[in-house]
Amino acid sequence: MNVLLDYLPEFRDGFLGTLAITGSSALLALVLGILIAGFRVSPIPPLRVFGTAWVTILRNTPLTLLFLVAVFVVPQILVPGASPFVLATLALGFYTSSFVCEAVRSGINTVPLGQAEAARSIGMTFSQTLRLVVLPQATRTVLPPMSSIFIALTKNSAIAGAFSVTELFAHSKLLSDRGYDIAWIFLWIALAYLVITFSISGLFRLLERRMGVAR
């Protein structure tokens, strides 16, 4: 019980760390995911193939392995000496982007055919159709799966703690190494994650209500 009160700063740091890593990788995943979804529905075959390969490989690789790749392979390709936070963001963001891509793509598929046809008939190009007509409508369908993806992302961010990023798991490990009762630590950490995940689903429910599109 006392472990929370005694180590309040640690818990706070861990909580903020989890928020930071979740936020930054969510942003990366969103940008990459939408881009790759655009590739996957584009009329250009090489890009479609690239998008499919991207999704297939990233979805079927354990996240832990991606973390290893980020820590040991990425520094060889790009600048060496990137901070663990940046590398973890890359691993989490790339992994999650494949799920975002699939959600966006299925959202695009739910937009009625007539909408895209109408857009084309008034002379819009592919990217205009996608940007001005289809994606804004797809957004609404995509929101519920997106909320689940970000909740999963929050939980996956725990793995970053095992790769020396300061967040909740790293701190729980630290405290249990100091001999505190794991059951209490576990419960407090669980509560912290519940707070984050409930906020995410609440936020998305709000968004859903705001962005309603009459169909």
Partner: protein, 315 residues
């Protein structure tokens, strides 16, 4: 291709030319990125034959094989246990007795909300510090922490999948069964669960893919599964004064991708077969509706059994 044609017309002569130009630019861009990665790795000497030669040694092969076997072993035990737990929890959540319902709901919500890594770690610490009481030795604490962690988490998810499946069975079925005089247990066991399992098979298998991927969390609690032995190998083997991380990561990564894709392919095959069969039972999509995305809110995250166009469709 399904969604592609929605967004653009059949290309005419002009668009064909334009698309071809974009195709060339697109492929060049993709190739350029790949070439950059390969060149950088080559510059660092990662494609040095000596580094790849390690896979010719019996020791390396044995540790990859052992790691693979351990991974599959953990996966097999955890898969069976999580499915059993899933059925039990699903039935308990639909029980007529309030306390049973609450208990099951609480269990499911708690373990779905906590990152699996933290569950596994907590179990490991508990098992390790009480190993005498449980009569565990060697690396059994790691094994059971990993298996139990995977079981409680995936069992909770599978329970929600099965519950959605049970709820999707038309009401007339259970009414008819009750009318024949079957007991509640009989209705559940002989009418509802078989149909729920059938309808949800693709989703269940997709969740098993997640279970398979998550066995790699054993790495964090130093259990000798595939990823951990890969890590051990890459730090222990030194070629030309350098570790062999990259070749080992490439090889083990392909193994994982191959295993998971085989399971996903099975899910897709069952989905297709299920759609063709004329049993009147809708089959859920093989995507990863609950799996990857598994959410907190029970009601809307779980696919409504024969899921419509809601979640990622594979092709």
């Amino acid at each position: 291709m399904s969604g592609a044609s929605v967004l653009y017309d059949v290309p005419g002569p002009k668009a064909k030319v334009r698309n071809r130009v974009y195709s060339v630019i697109g492929s060049l861009a993709v190739l350029a990125v790949l070439a950059f990665v390969v060149m950088r790795l080559n510059d660092k000497g990662q494609f040095d034959p000596a580094k790849w030669n390690i896979f010719n040694y019996a020791g390396v092969r044995t540790s990859i094989r052992d790691g693979m076997l351990v991974t599959l072993q953990v996966f097999a035990v955890a898969a069976v246990l999580s499915l059993v737990l899933g059925v039990l929890l699903a039935v308990a959540r639909l029980s007529d007795h309030k306390p049973v319902r609450w208990l099951a709901t609480g269990f499911i919500e708690l373990f779905r909300a906590v990152p699996l890594l933290i569950t596994v770690y907590a179990l490991w610490v508990i098992l390790l510090s009480n190993r005498e009481d449980f009569g565990l030795s060697g690396n059994q604490p790691q094994f059971w922490a990993l298996v139990l962690g995977l079981t409680v988490y995936n069992g909770s998810v599978q329970a929600e999948v099965l519950r959605a499946g049970i709820l999707s069975v038309p009401k007339g079925q259970s009414e008819a069964a009750y009318a024949l005089g079957l007991s509640k247990t009989q209705v559940m066991m002989t009418v509802l669960i078989p149909q729920a399992v059938r309808a949800m098979m693709p989703t269940i298998i997709s969740q098993l893919v997640v279970t398979l991927k998550d066995t790699s969390l054993g790495f964090v609690i130093t259990y000798e599964e595939l990823l951990y032995s890969a890590r051990q190998m890459s730090t222990n083997i030194i070629v030309n004064g350098e570790d062999v991380y990259i070749p080992v990561i490439i090889v083990t990564g392909s193994l994982y991708v191959a295993l998971c894709m085989a399971l996903s392919a099975l899910a897709n095959w069952i989905e297709r077969r299920g759609r063709q069969a004329k049993t009147g039972i809708g089959v859920a999509e093989a995507g990863e509706p609950v799996a990857a995305t598994d959410a907190m809110e029970v009601g809307d995250a779980v696919p409504d059994a024969p899921a419509g166009e809601k979640t990622g469709k594979e092709n």
